[in-house]
């Protein structure tokens, strides 16, 4: 019973914070509400028993998306970009009508679903042993539907190329993002030295644990990216220039390794076929490669296109 009350309160809170993020007058406030919203949604995922999703939502949905949006708001403020006026009340009423209708339609669709449908839970469980991993979500992500994941890692690559190609021509060959300055001996610099070993450990653990417990390359890669960003903000490290060969190798290594395993599979039974006796090692290898490339790509996405000369 307390569980049910908790869930109801949580749902109401999620809806209220979402409204605050959408309607908030101050853009920065809206983004902060959005981050809180993401954390509440992550909590909802744990209530539904989906811990992997909760981790992904907290790290990626709330964390990284939030960092990207906060950074963008700061950039626009520095550029003096003003906010437009809200629409007229009449348009507002019509828009609200459309939205209530949309939510109602989705609600009607939900209400019409068969309450006993079991989905593919049982099918996944039956094939879990042959997948090589103990975590059913990882089994789906890297084996049963590994092809989705292969394409998804390439989606990150395409976006990084897209972000970089938005650089000014004169900065091509420069390092990504702006130069970071932190006071030597300040809080950031201290954390920058103190946290990385712990963060590195946590990130590697989440990747490694993902085969049998909640976690995986995406969640772990995000933690690693966050560690790097923190150290970079402390001014202790800097990204290599966008033209650096080693940087480019790092971002394609994971997807290229995954693709190589997929193509090699053709000669061992089919495209992306992972022989059950080697599946675990193969998945761990792919995840290690992916985590490296994902961490680098995510950190570079947050840093943005090069905004300073090559030097």
């Amino acid at each position: 019973m307390t569980g049910a009350i908790f869930d109801i309160v949580l749902c109401l809170l999620i809806l209220a914070v979402a409204l605050a993020a959408i309607l908030g007058r101050d853009l920065f406030g809206s983004v902060v509400f959005f981050i809180v919203y993401g954390l509440l949604v992550a909590l909802a995922w744990t209530r539904l028993g989906a811990v992997d999703v909760a981790l992904a939502e907290a790290a990626i949905g709330a964390g990284l998306t939030g960092v990207l949006l906060v950074g963008a708001v700061a950039r626009l403020r520095r550029g003096g970009v003003v906010e437009p006026t809200p629409p007229r009340p009449l348009a507002r009423g019509a828009q609200m009508g459309i939205c209530v209708l949309a939510a109602g339609l989705v609600g009607a669709a939900i209400a019409g679903l068969d309450p006993d449908a079991a989905g593919l839970t049982a099918t996944v469980a039956q094939n879990l042993e042959a997948s090589g991993v103990g975590n059913p979500v990882t089994a789906v992500l890297l084996n049963f539907r590994g092809y989705d994941t292969l394409l998804e890692t390439v989606v990150l690559l395409v976006v990084l190329i897209g972000v970089w190609s938005l650089a000014e021509d004169r900065y091509w060959g420069g390092r990504p993002g702006l130069r970071q300055h932190a006071k030597p001996g300040g809080v950031l610099a201290t954390y920058g030295r103190f946290l990385p070993p712990l963060g590195l450990l946590a990130g590697v653990y989440v990747v490694w644990a993902g085969t049998d417990q909640p976690g995986g390359a995406f969640q772990g890669g995000t933690i690693l990216a966050a560690v790097w960003l923190l150290v970079a903000m402390a001014g202790l490290v800097d990204a290599p220039p966008v033209t650096a060969r080693r940087l480019r190798l790092t971002i394609v290594a994971g997807p290229a390794l995954f693709l190589a395993v997929a193509v090699a599979g053709i000669f061992m039974g089919g495209f992306l076929h992972l022989p059950p006796e080697h599946a675990k090692q193969l998945i761990q290898t792919i995840e290690a490669g992916l985590a490296l490339s994902i961490a680098a790509t995510l950190a570079l996405l947050v840093a943005g296109p090069p905004q300073r000369g090559a030097r």
């Binding site: 339609l105 989705v106 009607a108 669709a109 939900i110 209400a111 019409g112 679903l113 068969d114 449908a117 079991a118 989905g119 593919l120 099918t123 996944v124 094939n127 084996n143 049963f144 539907r145 590994g146 092809y147 989705d148 394409l151 998804e152 390439v154 989606v155 690559l157 395409v158 976006v159 190329i161 897209g162 970089w164 190609s165 938005l166 650089a167 000014e168 021509d169 091509w172 060959g173 033209t243 060969r245 480019r248 190798l249 971002i251 394609v252 997807p255 290229a256 693709l259 997929a262 193509v263 599979g265 053709i266 000669f267 039974g269 089919g270 495209f271 992306l272 076929h273 992972l274």
Partner: protein, 492 residues
């Protein structure tokens, strides 16, 4: 067992590998020189495989649906793969001198190559996928690569065009994704082949079908979701425009075709089908009228795409719907695919040729056409030939397409659609007349030129769209391999 299964996997893997190499070791000449012939060989393998072995369903990783993802190589998907290979293959060769990598790597000179190869891989992934969620990932992949190419010139105008496109694309992705989520919730599978065997009259399925259709229509730039297309396609560099206008809207249309004819043929209500047809018809008329009003060459060609996309949607009232196949459905279905493919060749040829005219003139106003027949006869001829396909004149592939659609319209008693098809041809002649007529005028001022070998490539692509009309019997038969039951029976 290995050989036929090789073609679908390599169709995605080869351009992906080329893209990875283009990121790390940017050597476009070498990469294009190896990748394009390799892909043409893969295409030959795919065509042979389908012709001899029939439609091929490949369970990725050996996991059969609903647990795994199936790749489907039948007549339809192979036709789109081959059209994509021929189009992008030509575009990449034309792009070589325009995106060179010299001693000092430049931003666009580097970024174009991985983006082009990634777009190729993404399109092939869409055409081969038999799983609605996998299609979501692949379509997003297409959209994001496209967005980057639209903004590649990097000026305010192009960045604005990219953002406008993104607004429609984001709406489209969300609608599609919600539809996919509801379908899984209702049926426990996202495999197109399995969904086809299930009843689809429950609320969730119908809401899902509406969402998926609206989402894909927004991505295809169907009227009234068309406003993003002209600035996006006209603002990109010409080789990118060629790929974007010829192929990218076809990817989302292809998914619509798969969805309505393969996955859920029973869910199609008569009103929905007529509505899609009406939007297509409006796109033909409205897009053509806007094209007539353009004064910039690339804008004109881009508005022509808005109009030409309209024809594709006539397939829904002409071939969709009823559970029992009618005698005209095969003709209409095949006609729309013919239109998609011949428009791909003609539009890519037109964008590349216009790109050359613009390159020679240094601007893309109408006067860039002046004297083109004498200055650059091959480019002028390429424009003329591709115009023949866009107008639907014999003996082009565009003519075959319209002939098939017209026959179906008369056979099914839907004369209104026939009138629109004829009107569309006349309007196409109207908007293409002005630039083509100027090609015969004397030229004033100074013009540069483009090497003849470069000029020959768009011409070859334009000729391809005509060849498709001359030897239409073989591709017609090929398309019927694995044709969905809902488009069965032919007009014999």
């Amino acid at each position: 067992m290995i050989l036929p299964a090789l073609a679908p996997a390599l169709s995605v893997a080869v351009p992906l590998a080329a893209a990875f190499l283009a990121v790390v070791a940017p050597r476009p000449r070498l990469l294009v020189g190896v990748t394009v012939p390799a892909m043409l060989a893969v295409m030959a393998l795919a065509v042979l495989g389908v012709r001899q072995g029939g439609p091929l369903v490949l369970a990725v990783g050996g996991w059969e649906p609903p647990l795994g993802i199936a790749l489907v190589a039948d007549g339809l998907s192979t036709a789109f793969l081959v059209a994509t290979a021929l189009t992008i293959g030509t575009v990449l060769v034309v792009a070589l001198p325009q995106f060179p990598i010299r001693q000092n790597e430049t931003r666009a000179g580097w970024a174009f190559w991985p983006l082009a190869f990634l777009l190729w891989a993404a399109l092939n992934a869409v055409f081969l996928s038999g799983d609605l969620f996998n299609i979501y990932v692949a379509i997003e992949f297409v959209t994001l690569a496209t967005l980057a190419l639209v903004a590649l010139e990097g000026k305010a105008k192009q960045v604005e065009a990219a953002m406008r496109y993104a607004m429609f694309a984001l709406f489209g992705s969300l609608a599609y994704l919600l539809g996919v989520a509801l379908l899984y919730a209702a049926h426990g599978t996202l495999d197109i082949g399995l969904l086809a065997q299930l009843p689809a009259q429950d609320t969730a399925s119908l809401v899902a079908a509406g969402l998926i259709t609206a989402g894909l229509a927004a991505k295809t730039a169907l009227f009234p979701f068309h406003a993003w297309l002209p600035p996006a396609h006209a603002g990109a560099p010409a080789p990118a425009s060629a790929m974007l206008s010829a192929l990218v809207p076809k990817a989302s249309f292809y998914v619509l075709l798969r969805f309505w004819f393969d996955a859920m043929p029973e869910a199609a209500g008569a009103i929905a089908l007529q509505l899609l047809g009406a939007l297509g018809a409006t796109a033909i008329v409205y897009g053509s009228i806007l094209a007539v009003r353009q004064n910039r060459l690339k804008q004109l060609v881009a508005y022509s795409t808005v109009a030409q996309i309209g024809y594709l949607f006539l397939v829904f009232p002409l071939a969709g719907g009823s559970a029992e196949p009618q005698p005209w459905t095969a003709g209409a279905w095949t006609g729309s695919v013919f239109h998609a493919v011949s428009h791909a060749f003609a539009k890519a040829a037109m964008f590349l040729a216009v790109g050359h005219a613009v390159l020679a003139a240094g601007h893309d106003r109408m006067s860039a056409m002046d004297g083109l027949t004498r200055r650059m006869p091959m480019t002028a001829f390429a424009l003329g030939v591709s115009a023949v396909t866009l107008m639907g004149l014999p003996p082009s592939g565009g003519f075959t397409a319209k002939f098939l659609l017209l026959t179906a319209a008369f056979a099914s008693g839907q004369v209104l659609w026939a009138a629109i098809i004829v009107l569309g041809g006349v309007l196409a002649a109207a908007y293409l007349f002005r630039p083509l007529a100027r090609a015969f005028l004397p030229d004033r001022g100074r013009y540069g030129t483009v090497p003849r070998a470069q000029q020959a490539l768009p011409l070859a692509l334009a000729m391809l769209s005509v060849v498709l009309g001359i030897v239409s019997a073989a591709p017609y038969d090929f398309l019927q391999t694995g044709r969905p039951a809902a488009a069965e029976e032919g007009l014999e």
